[in-house]
Symmetry: C2
Subunit: 220 residues, 2 copies
DNA sequence: CACAAATGGAGCAGTTCCCTCCACTTGGAG
DNA sequence: CTCCAAGTGGAGGGAACTGCTCCATTTGTG
């Protein structure tokens, strides 16, 4: 991928490179982009030196890892545009985008912050936005989404619900879908009924666990 | 307040104590509970020693500051119960709770994390929850809120929208109200129209600023 | 087998944080 | 006014991080 036509790496080196990539993917997904390269090295079972030789800085490692994932996001938006029903298109896009964020904290952080450092990713984001705009406009013109909505509102909604996913990840990783259902019902211009809830709510014990996890993470 | 019937502080000492309290209130509100006591001292214009003599540890300082604010939250829930219209009661409570969180990051963090260390605050939270439950049940029995909702969902909603407030605080401190309107419209069992948006949406430039701020804060 | 390529992890420099300590200043009782 | 306990400021110690370098050693391979 980033093997820029140099002489190929020695076999063991290539294997280690892959290990680092795997470890990084895993750690970024579960702890966010804040993890240190030392952590990644330990988790990959190689020395820090090895990591730094292969990826001069963290930015490059992140770039290498997330280009693909952001591509997926783009294709999700594209697929939505092909769906005949404008409402379902919007729903599916939000659902898919949030599923990806719920599974991968690093991705979420990357999507929500402007990262001067990651030019490639920045570019990808700029491609996604107009697609989303079209999905939204189409739904509005069909009269299935409130007219006073703007793409930025969808971004905020994503942030909001993504945060719920983060909050409850360890304890009830699907609960964010309830919050999404509420939000989606709030996007319609009018409706007779509520949409069905996709999963049971957080129980008391789960609430306490979420709070504890979140506090601990924050203190770290 | 915490002057437990000891001999009163010397006049200058009392003045400094107040300065520390003021500085802490301000910093906690704008940067969250993570600020260091050293920071607070600098901001208060006193030495760190002074801070530590008066507040042996951060927990105590936080306790002293936030008991009052959590009390306000409790009374907000109480006032909601006195309102005749069950829907407006719920709306007002969520609105008020979120206003408080939007103005005070520290408060938000305290509300969302279980803090074994802050027994008093823990107790206050336990008093609020049943009140909210009653507000919700009343609205459900009146048929103005979807029946499949649970108090935990309201908590998540609060977290979600509070996060929006955090995200946009510097740039458009009222935008979270739009997200709240969407969520509220999603809580109704059925409806003919959408509620009016209370403020203009984020424009493109504001989006970029929010992203930058958020990324910077996270990196710090 | 020889030797370049690759390795691991001790260790350095830089932060940031909490907190202690003590030589100095100051309020206010007598 | 005098004097001393109360109060002060902030240097600095210790601990926990971070990103990153360096080099004696091991390993793959022509």
């Amino acid at each position: 991928m980033a093997t820029t036509s140099e002489r190929p790496l020695r076999k063991d080196a290539e294997r280690n490179r892959q290990r680092v990539l795997d470890a990084a993917r895993e750690l970024f997904a579960e702890r966010g982009l804040g993890v240190s390269l030392d952590d990644i090295a330990r988790h990959a079972g190689v020395g820090v030196g090895t990591v730094y030789r292969r990826f001069p800085d963290k930015e490059q490692l992140i770039d290498a890892l997330f280009e693909e994932r952001i591509g997926e996001m783009l294709s999700a938006a594209g697929k939505s545009l092909e769906m005949p029903d404008p409402w379902l298109a919007l729903v599916r896009f939000l659902e898919r985008a949030l599923e990806m964020q719920a599974e991968d904290r690093g991705l979420k952080e990357l999507l929500l912050s402007t990262s001067e450092a990651h030019a490639r990713i920045e570019r990808a984001r700029l491609q996604i936005q107009p697609l989303v705009a079209v999905v939204l406009e189409r739904a509005q013109q069909a009269g299935v989404v409130r007219a006073d909505l703007v793409v930025a509102d969808l971004l905020l909604l994503q942030h909001a619900i993504g945060e719920v996913a983060d909050y409850t990840r360890e304890v009830a990783p699907e609960v964010w879908r309830r919050t999404l259902v509420i939000a989606l019902d709030g996007l319609r211009p009018d409706r007779r009924r509520t949409s069905p809830m996709p999963c049971p709510p957080l129980d008391d014990e789960e609430i306490v666990c979420s709070m504890r996890d979140w506090g601990a993470r924050r203190r770290r």
